[in-house]
Structure formats: C-alpha cells, structure tokens
Amino acid sequence: MALTGRLGLLALVAAFVPLLVPSGAVLLGLWGLLLLGVVIDLCLAGNVRALRFHREGDTRVRLGEKANAGLIVENTGKRRVKAVLRDVWPPSAGVSPRTAKINVPAGERRRIDQTFTPTRRGDREAVTVVVRSVGPLGLAARQLSRSAPRTLRVLPAFPSRRHLPSRLARLRELTGLHSTMIRGQGTEFDSLREYVVGDDVRSIDWRATARRNDVVVRTWRPERDRRLYLVLDTGRTSAGRVGDIPRLDCSMDAALLLAALASRAGDRVDLLAYDRTVRARCENASRTGLLSEMVEAMAPLEPALIESDAAGMVSAIMSRVRRRSLVVLLTELNPAAFEEGLLPLLPGLTARHLVMIAAVSDPMVDEMAVARGDLAAVYDASAAERARADRRRLTAELRSYGVEVVDAPPDRIAPALADAYLALKAAGRL
C-alpha cells in the first residue's frame, strides 16, 4: 500500500475548512470521506499480481557503449492497471528511465523502452520490478515487487584495439606478405625456390642445388600453430587501483590485444584466470570466435582479496598444457608474493614452457620518485626508489631463470606485451 500526494493535499485543504465552518463534526466528516476514498482506491486499483513481465533486447554490451532493451508488461487481470513502475537494477547498470508510467488495459501488453549505459565491467542482475498501481481516485495505490530476472553482461572495453593495426602490419612484415622473404625474418622452413639475384647467398641449399641444375634457395617463414597460454592472476595483487582502474582490467586489456594478434599470426590461444581456483577458462576456441569467447570469459571476473596460490596455478598450467607453449602470466611484480610463491616453482615451469611475465607498473610510483620540494616528498621519493629497486631486482632474478619480463605502466602494457610477443616470434623462440 502507498498513499499519494493528492491525499496529502486534500487533507491539507480539509484543515482549512474549520476556519470557515468551525465545527469538529465537519472536519471528522471530511476525514471520513478521505478514508473512504482510500479504501475505494485500494479495492479498485489494478491488480499487480496479474501482471506478467517479459524482457527483450541486448544481454551483452561493451563497457562504454549503450544497450537497448525493452520491458514488456502484460496485464492478465480483469481491470486496467494504471501504475508507476520502477525497474530496479544496481546503480552501475545505468538503466534509464528509472521509473515509467504505464497504463495497461485488461488483456493487453505495453512495452517500456530502456537504455543501459553501464559504468563498470561485469554481470549486472535485475533486482526486481516494483509496481505502484494507483486507484481510480488517485488517493492510494497498491505497491508490489515482482521478480523479472535478467542478466546484463558488461564486457571489457578493450581500449587497446587501436594498437592492433600497427602490430598486424609488423606481423605481415614478418610473414613476408609485404616484403621479400629474407633469411632471418623467419625460422621455420617453408619451401625451396630458384635463386634470384638479391637473395641472401647464405640461404642457398647446396644439397638441393646439387640435385637440380639451378641454384636453389630455402625460404623461411615465421613459425605458425604455436600455442599461447595466457594466465590472468585474479588474486589480491590484481585488485590494486592503477590510475583509475583495477590492475586486473589493465591485464585483461593486454591479454585481449595479445590474443587478437596471436590468433591472426596463426597461433592458438588459451586463457586461464586463477587465484586459488580456476575463475575462468577459454580453451580450444576457434580462430574466429576466440576474441568474443575470451571477452565473454573475462566479463564476470572480479579481483579476489586472497593471496594467489602459485603452486596451484603452476600445477593447473602443467596439467592443462602438454605441448611446449608460451605461458604468459599477467600478474604483479610483488617481491614478497613472488619469493614465497612463484619463484621456487619457476624452474619446473621454464623447463617445459617459455614463460613470459607481464606486470602493470604504477605510474604514481614514478611520479613519487621524482617528487621534490619538502621533506614528505623526499621521503616519498626514497620509498618509491626503494620500490623500484625491489622491482628491478625481482625482474633481474626472473630473467636469470630465462623468463621474459614485460613491465610497463597501464597505458603501455598492452602494446609492450604485443611487441614482446612479436620479438619472440621474429627470433623464432616460440
């Protein structure tokens, strides 16, 4: 039950009546009339229980874009329902309009157009639909919550998409689609062909030349059908805010760019999100559906405030990946966490796979390191220097294990990771 502003206004007007007719009985009579109106309204208001809700429209939206959806209200009751309706969503779903007026005659249905402009990545669940059905006199209303479940999945924004064309151009140079094939640009034997002037004499295949009358050269191309295994660390270190977004979101962005690039380069990409258990997985995806499947897998991920289980992560990787792969670990270079967790397990991992660690550094620390002026700033600078020294030491130690380390601030991590991958590919180390 809910009362309306009209009832309050009428009660206020009734209060002025005794100034003209100073009689308690008249006032009581007016109140009685209002009460009667309320009872009539409550009895004659449209039946909210008879409403059926259906939803249609987008269920997926990329962060930063708009989703259009509709809420269809079907009246199965015998009376017209005149009501105010609120579709209740979490604030970050950005649903608009917040409330809508509906007027549904018996047996008919009406559609409410909605737009969603979500402000955060992840799954957003519709909480409930609240309907306030106003009676014919407009004095009182029946109010009820009805469930109309729906999930809106907000996908990562993938802002580093803009780096993809330039990296693809680099990749095409490697595969020889743009420039001539010359030795050193690839490492995998492709085919034999006749020597033409300008070819590197070092690539002449003497054995084949001996069998034929012509001079024959070997051609090379970059390796294809290699495997990439991306591992997202969703533990506590991924929760820290770098700039304005959590570190995990930066890592996702970098992973998406790398996956897009690698799939174009003909490599297979799998994804695993892990802290103490497997949070998300995207394996054996087809080349064309890879990105959408990865985005889908990443969308509901949230940083967990627990210490990542490095041993579990390594054993999960080992059990899943039999062939030699490039294992890209997107995590944070936290000396304490590394020394206790991953570092002792690295030799086992590097023996089987090529390991690359990508970490998002905090530009705030670099800002603090150059801060001068007062004592607090200098202490800040020394603490930042200390943090950077620790990071450098850890990086050097990781490199001594043969691990590739990519450490870059959030705006450069995705292209830096892509470049590191291209460098590995060019060097034929995959």
């Binding site: 009362l3 309306t4 009660a11 209002l34 959590p246 620390v365």
Partner: protein, 415 residues
C-alpha cells in the same frame, strides 16, 4: 588523471554565489527579524520608576534620599491601596500611569491630597488633570525653568532628555517650556495641587545627578510630608477587569484550534506519501578501490615517522646510481656494487661522474656512496657494517642530498 579546466572568474563568482546564497538569505532574515524585534521592544522596562529597583531606570535613590530626609515614603502597588492611604498632607506620585484602568482613574479622582503624574497619556490627563492637553514629544538636554514655581526655580537647569510637552490651561504654572509648551504644569484642581511632569528621567537612579534633576525631583516629590508612590502592578491592575483570567486559547476564534488539529493530521498522509519508497535501495558491490601505490606511500610515512634518514638516503642513492651508471657507459650491474664489495668499481664510478660534472670527487663520493674523499681515493673501508654509508645528520641534509643527486644526474645526462 583528469585535468580540471580552470573556470573563469564569472563562473567562480556564480558558483560561490550559488553555494552561499542560502547562508546570505538566512543572515538577511536574521537581521530583519532582529530589527523588527528591536523596534517592537517596549522602550520601558517593567521595573522602570520602581522605588525598589536599583537599576538605572529605577527610583530607589530618590526614595532613599527622601526617607533619610524624614519624608514618609509608601509604595502602593495598586490604585485602591493608594487611595485608601491618600489624604490631606499627602502627595500621590503616579508612576507608570498607563497601567491604570478606567476605574482606577475614577478612584484616584475622588481622593484628597496632591497628585504628581509622570508622563501621563491623554486618557489619564482628561481624567485627573482636566484642561491639560498632550502636545508632543521633544528632546532637550538642558531646560530652564522660566516660571515662578519655587521648586523649579530652586532646581534651575534640568536635563529632561526625551520628554512630553503639554498645553497648560490658563492660570496654571507652566515651567520648562519648549516653544511655549511646558514640560511641567502645576495647577489646582478641586482644592488640590496636580502636577504633570513630562519626563521620568529626572527621577531615575541613572540621571538623578544630572544638572538640577535631584533638586527638582525632591522639590516635587517631597513637597508634602507623606509620599505615596503608586506604581500599579500589571497583574493586579487587570485582575477582575474586562481582560479577565482568560488564556490565549480562550481568545482565539473557535475554528483555529480545529485548523491546527487538521494541519497536524494532514502531516500524517503527507509523511506516509513521502516516506514510501518505490522499491528497495540497491547496494552496488564495488571492486576494491585501494590504490596500488598505497604500500609505497605507507613505507614513506614509516620512514618519516621514524626519521629513517639513512635508509631513505640509501634508497635515493641506489636509484640515482642506477640511472647514472648506464649513462657513463659502464655495465648496469656496476650500479649495484657497493664500495665494501668492490672498491675499484665504486671508485671508477665516482671518478667518471666527477669528470663529467662540476662537482669534485669528494662531493660525488659522499652523494653517491655516503663516504669521505679519503675513503674513496686511498682505501675503501672493509667490513663496514652499514653499507649505506653516512647518514644525513638532519632533514635539511636529506633534502640537500636529494637535490645534489638530481643535479649530478642532470649534469651527467647533459655531458
């Protein structure tokens, strides 16, 4: 990071006005209310002219002086009390005559004995001093008697201040005139002397000593051996009269109470209307918003709280070495070598930096390694416990070290 666009002066003024206008409005309202209250406040306090009051507006001083001079001094708090005591040889001083009711005035008119009316109004004058008429308010600091009344001529100049002037009937003694209208009138009405005094100020404690005030007051009040000071009490004056014992609610029109009741009842549906929410409040499950640099900031505060200048200096030195050494063309690993591990490498760094900057080796060695020149050039101390070297002695030293390291780095970079 979002850089804020500098607002124009107009925008700033507009924003300040919008944020401050509520406060300004409230202040204005307060000022207006204050002015109204001050204007409505009665200029007379309840205990003015009360012979028991020692305040500036009271008349205790005059009463005490008269008593000490042997004049009988009675205080009457209502008119019937005063009339019962009045008789020949008495003078009834009517202070605050505005408090007298019509019946009080009738009663007073019938008594014997002289009357002194202090600032009487029109109604009092017509009843007790027929023929005298109110003229208007004036203000004067010094007024001269200009009449034959002995009490006035003896007193001489009197400070009246704010005072009423009157039109005196023919045959009356009119003193202290202002353009022909006297402030003091004395004449005989049905065999008794009635004095009309246009100002209360000459009688009060606060102004008794001004000019000839005291003399005039004593001459007027102490003119008879028995003084009856009538200062009517508001309560007593009105008791039993037409105002009655009725309270405020009795005086309100009958519908008003019902109106207020109606208002109170109307609040209930309005409160229920506004109070009912359309659906639940939904809490957003927020991700963690801790800054990633929080640990670094925490370490900085710890350093500062414990004045760990040595550690802070060593961190700054290590960072500077790490950036400077590659610029010198030396392997990066040299940067991490401490003098205790390999004095030769450290000396090489110091020499190279000193050669490229305008600082001498001693300064460079102190800045980069925290060691003295002697230790650099001759022999490095071995087995030194503190690898960080010398600790800045105070905070200024640490600041100077940071600046020196910046300077070294800049010069090496530019060389």
């Amino acid at each position: 990071m979002v850089t804020a666009v500098e607002p124009t002066a107009g925008q700033v003024v507009g924003r300040r006005w919008r944020s401050a206008r509520g406060i300004v409005l409230v202040l204005l309202c307060l000022v207006v209310i204050g002015v109204v209250v001050a204007a409505l406040k009665p200029s007379r306090k309840p205990d003015d002219l009360d012979p028991g009051s020692p305040k500036p507006g009271g008349t205790r001083a005059l009463a005490e002086i008269l008593k000490s001079r042997g004049v009988g001094f009675d205080v009457a708090r209502n008119a019937s009390d005063a009339t019962s005591r009045a008789g020949a040889g008495t003078i009834t001083v009517v202070a605050r005559p505005e408090r007298l009711t019509r019946s009080d005035l009738d009663r007073l008119r019938g008594t014997a004995g002289d009357l002194l009316l202090v600032e009487p109004g029109r109604e009092v004058l017509s009843s007790l001093a027929p023929g005298v008429e109110q003229d208007g308010p004036t203000f004067v600091l010094q007024a001269h008697p200009q009449c034959g009344l002995q009490g006035a001529t003896l007193a001489g100049t009197v400070a009246f201040g704010e005072s009423e002037t009157y039109v005196a009937p023919s045959g009356a003694t009119a003193c202290y005139p202002e353009s022909g209208k006297p402030r003091l009138v004395q004449y005989q009405v049905s065999g008794r002397a009635v004095t009309v005094l246009g100002a209360a100020r000459p009688l009060t404690n606060g102004h008794l000593t001004d000019e000839g005030n005291a003399a005039l007051a004593m001459n007027l009040v102490g003119a008879r051996p028995q003084v009856i000071w009538l200062i009517p009490d508001v309560r007593h004056a009105s008791s039993g009269e037409r105002a009655g014992d009725r309270t405020l609610t009795d005086l309100l029109p009958p519908g008003v109470k019902l109106f207020f009741l109606g208002l109170v009842v109307a609040v209930i549906p309005i409160a229920l209307w506004r109070g009912r929410r359309l659906g639940p409040v939904v809490a957003e499950v927020l991700p963690v918003v801790v800054r990633s640099s929080e640990t670094v900031t925490g370490r900085s505060r710890l350093y500062r709280a414990h004045r760990a200048r040595g550690r802070a200096a060593e961190a700054l030195r290590a960072g500077a070495r790490d950036r400077i050494v590659p610029l010198l063309g030396l392997p990066r690993t040299v940067a991490q070598i401490l003098p205790t591990q390999d004095p030769g490498a450290a000396r090489e760094v110091v020499m190279a930096v000193a050669a490229r900057t305008d600082h001498d080796e001693r300064t460079v060695a102190t800045a980069l390694y925290g060691l003295d020149l002697g230790q650099v050039t001759q022999s490095w101390p071995t087995g030194q416990s503190d690898p960080g070297g010398a600790e800045p002695v105070d905070d200024a030293g640490l600041l100077a070290l940071a600046d020196l390291l910046d300077d070294l780095e800049r010069q090496v970079r530019q060389s």
